[in-house]
Symmetry: C2
Subunit: 307 residues, 2 copies
Amino acid sequence: MTETTDKSFQEIMKEKAAAIDEMLSAYIYHGQAVPDTITEAMRYSLLAGGKRLRPILMQETYRMFGGSGTQFIEPFMAAMEMIHTYSLVHDDLPAMDNDEYRRGRKTTWAVYGDAMGILAGDALLNAAYETALEVLGVCETPEQYRRVGWALKVLAHNAGIHGMVGGQVADIEAEQQTEPLTAEQIDYIHRNKTGALIEASMTIGAILAGASTEQGTEITRCALDIGIAFQIQDDILDVVGDSAELGKPVGSDAANGKQTYVTIHGLEHSRAEVERLSNEAIAILQKLPGDHSFLESLVRYLIDRRS
Amino acid sequence: MTETTDKSFQEIMKEKAAAIDEMLSAYIYHGQAVPDTITEAMRYSLLAGGKRLRPILMQETYRMFGGSGTQFIEPFMAAMEMIHTYSLVHDDLPAMDNDEYRRGRKTTWAVYGDAMGILAGDALLNAAYETALEVLGVCETPEQYRRVGWALKVLAHNAGIHGMVGGQVADIEAEQQTEPLTAEQIDYIHRNKTGALIEASMTIGAILAGASTEQGTEITRCALDIGIAFQIQDDILDVVGDSAELGKPVGSDAANGKQTYVTIHGLEHSRAEVERLSNEAIAILQKLPGDHSFLESLVRYLIDRRS
């Protein structure tokens, strides 16, 4: 990929992220009959920027399978980003990773205090379900109810102990472990802590667009490859990245004595694994119907990214 | 109410609570492909006993409006108790109320650590939605989908910032406030922190049984009376109760300098208000169809309770 096309793809990603920021802002607003502090803390964390990777993957998968319009997909995109955000807000808490900065600015608890950090996370998780459940209100046919019910089930399953929370627990336990992590442990953490929401994002896009069960299974496999490649790339960037581009210090994993895919498998094998998983994901996309050119570019962009 | 009928009603409540304990236990079990620690911490908090007031109110309202069977109501009963439990787990955290004991035993964070306390609460909240969403899977007719969709919406609305979380935020802010709370503030906290889930419990029971919109509105009013009376009674018991019966020290609110309904309105007015709200709740029940004798006894039991 040349520098020019890479730049224009980055521009497209930024535009998409900006559109998602605007959409998210409409879901949590002041002036509701609730204490101002909580909407402030929720907006602070939810509108902190970021790639908006999960909702973009959801939207593009929906489009690839022929989905159109916004009423079915947008609330799920917002819900997914709220769940991702709540997990970051709770991960940053003093009792968890004790991080005062994220993406170059203070974390939610560092601004609003520990108690409000806990409650803002809880509120975002609740708001995610409240938002996604709105879609039941636009269903008219049994088939629409079936699809939306299935998508809600995937959301809840992958966010909870069988998915993201399971991965967070394993990650916390791994940090307390003195002996080296096994390859299975790091794989479990990646699959769940990072992979589960990316998997759910693409699977929900496919379900809502009316993909077949077989196509859903293929897209889930593709998404898991993308999720794990994404996390390994994160581990690589923590070793070889540029701290200005990353918005956080390089080498923070090593400084914290954190075991990562790179410390276990080495840099060379890690890079080869990102390449292998990405190629596999692209191969799956190419066998599926619809225009998958954007998703292919996105997978390549995730490998080449420097932040 | 005589001592004898009071005792037998208490026995019935205990039997109902025991049946709910058994039902809850089946929802969160070991041996799923998740870290043991998290299912252990979830079970520790969820199966700690307690009155199971919210699921009992839901079930009895469902029956009063002619609902039968378990497949529609039980997952919602379990979900409600999971949400109530997660809120207690997070309320007890060092960064929130910093309570090491509840119902005479160590709180979840005091046993499993702060980080696991946060994650166990998150996991219970997620599990609540995952559990309630199961009911969409048994829907066949558009009317069933409509009712379940509406019940899910009430659950999410009352659990979040427009309900319980809003009340928790106002409560945390009230604790940091040096000037006396206004009557409006304490009312907002009671309506939301305690009232919202009790309101949702009875409203969901009515919706799932097919009550009309008007009946739903009446039962919501009745539930809010019950919820506020219940919380004022709690505040009264903290002053005049017996610590052995309560399972926690009497006078803990005063010792913590906590402002309650009693500190603001005095004991006499507080008792009169519990009486007034309970009578109003019973009057609403008596105007509704169906057998409401159990719910009436329950309201009387809540006024007379000593723990």
